[in-house]
Point group: C2
Chain length 331, copies 2
């Protein structure tokens, strides 16, 4: 409530001096400093962040544009971003897009007009590119690339290798007929994962079986029924992400199919949920927290980084748990 001018008046100095005491931007006479500090504590003065950010052109804010706040993958990433941001006095603004392009655009301009210091964007639309280009605020693209070429700061995981790891693991486990539940192929991560699967199929001279599915739990329920119809003798399933893996598991159990005895199942992402369930899900884990932290750091330390079209790729890791098992091995 109190303003810097009131504090200044009370301390018998100018607003400039109060500002200097608060920020340590210049030397202030000891006796005056004491009076200022006293006045600040007497009035309970808290500097107005809006006024400061108007002048500084920085609101110490990071914008996070993601498809959904309830999706565990994004909340885990968000949590890591929030942690890194909070440590440096930055705040997070959440923008839920539901993958709606118009909302993505609106969030971009809105965050820019709020003097955000940077934006972390997970998009599903190539068309967003021109808007990202116009944006004066640095944009870090995470998880999903929206361009084949590397003109932007990308932080993501090597999904292609992930796809290979998943397939190789199921083959290792002795599966003969492995179905890949492909995610939406316009999303780069889904496509790369499938590419990895397909390349292993080719290399190992194994027949490829696929089914299309959204990155969505409910969609997974429907597609699994269809999968079982289409491939009744399937013995291994690669889900496009962990949430879909959960829905697949649910339908398998509903059909009294034992996992991993009859069908083995592997997910993608390594969200914390994959570890909580019974049974625990075998999955290709991304270092979600590291991705989030890296993205936040790129913005927070943008002065040190040149912010020039870089790509940061993390390695996925196979995490073997309870939904896969080498055939012939006992408990």
């Amino acid at each position: 409530m109190a303003s810097i001018r009131e504090v200044a008046k009370l301390a018998g100095v100018s607003p400039a001096t109060v500002s200097r005491v608060m920020n340590g931007t210049a030397k202030v006479d000891d006796e005056k400093r004491e009076r200022v500090l006293q006045a600040i504590s007497d009035t309970g003065f808290v500097p107005n962040a809006v006024a400061r950010s108007l002048f500084k052109k920085s609101a110490r804010i990071i914008g996070l544009i993601i498809p959904s706040i309830t999706n565990p993958f994004f909340t885990q990433m968000a949590s890591a971003i929030e942690k890194a941001a909070d440590e440096q006095g930055y705040r997070l603004i959440f923008c839920n897009t539901g993958t709606d392009l118009e909302k993505e655009k609106a969030s971009l301009t809105m965050l820019e007009s709020m003097n955000a210091d940077g934006i972390i964007l997970t998009t599903s639309h190539e068309e967003i590119e021109s808007y990202v280009n116009q944006c004066k605020v640095p944009v870090i693209v995470t998880d999903r690339l929206f361009k084949e070429n590397k003109d932007y700061n990308h932080v993501h995981c090597d999904h292609y290798t992930g796809g290979r790891l998943a397939m190789e693991h199921l083959l290792d486990c002795g599966c003969k007929k492995i179905v890949c539940v492909k995610g939406p192929q316009q999303i780069s991560s889904a496509k790369a994962r499938y590419d990895g699967y397909r390349d292993v199929c080719e290399e190992k001279q194994v027949q490829e079986y696929t089914i299309d599915c959204d990155y969505d739990f409910n969609e997974g329920l429907v597609m699994t029924e269809q999968l079982l119809n289409q491939y009744p003798d399937v013995d291994g399933i690669i889900a496009c992400n962990d949430m879909v893996a959960l829905s697949i598991y649910k339908i398998l159990r509903k059909n009294n199919i034992e996992v991993p005895e009859q069908i083995q199942l592997i997910g993608f992402d390594g969200i914390y949920l994959s570890n909580l369930l019974t049974p625990e899900l075998t999955t290709i884990a991304q270092p979600i927290e590291e991705i989030g932290r890296k993205a936040a750091e790129l913005i927070i330390h943008k002065e040190e980084n040149d912010m020039g079209e870089k790509e940061y790729i993390f390695k996925p890791a196979l995490v073997v748990r309870q939904t896969t098992k080498k055939k012939g091995e006992g408990e």
Copy 2:
């Protein structure tokens, strides 16, 4: 980038006129309006939100202070808040506290200095009260009350009735030895739930069995082992929330105990996860989205509301799914 003064110069009018055209706050000559609109579109002018909020003393921001962004209960609530906020052009700022009192305080002052229009707070500390009182920004307390008396705007669920419903349901199902996994009793919701359980015990002349546990998955794992040791003949468990119920289920399965055949299990909250798992969890569901929406609306329409010490209580509902079953009934 362009400022309102540049737009004004280009259109040959004053900044005031540009402002009036944008906001429709006063009549502007048709021909001038056209010139202004043209200049806006030529320059791609987007008004700076910070400058506006400095004058308006409103940043069209809602602060959300919660213990964790990854906890599904809070993300579901947050999602509903975000939706209601977005519809009215408000943005959400997330503050993760990890139940740390200092972080709660810091978030409160920070949000106030950002000219936030309101704050939605889920706290675990009574001590926060004096800070909430000092806050000029309206604070809505959700989920957990921090005072017995009702001096604040509270939006929450009738946890006491929830506790009763859970216990009555397990009795209905024929359970004889029902253990209540009590949540942290300094948190009002946990206490109310336990009170409900206890009162039903008294009324029905049933022996009360309890075990203490945090609202936390990992804690649940440990406490369940202890529970099985302490009450080997338990046949019904009331978990303090759904996440703890998941962990209880995990340990029960690890001990080869069938649910619901040997032990019946009921959770609390009705997070969407409770429905995704296999088996689906019987739970006492809160109307999480309604709670979030109500809290957001109280802030967005604060002018219409008198904002004077009101309490909004929602009713919980028993959702019977697969972890409970009336004894003696077949599939």
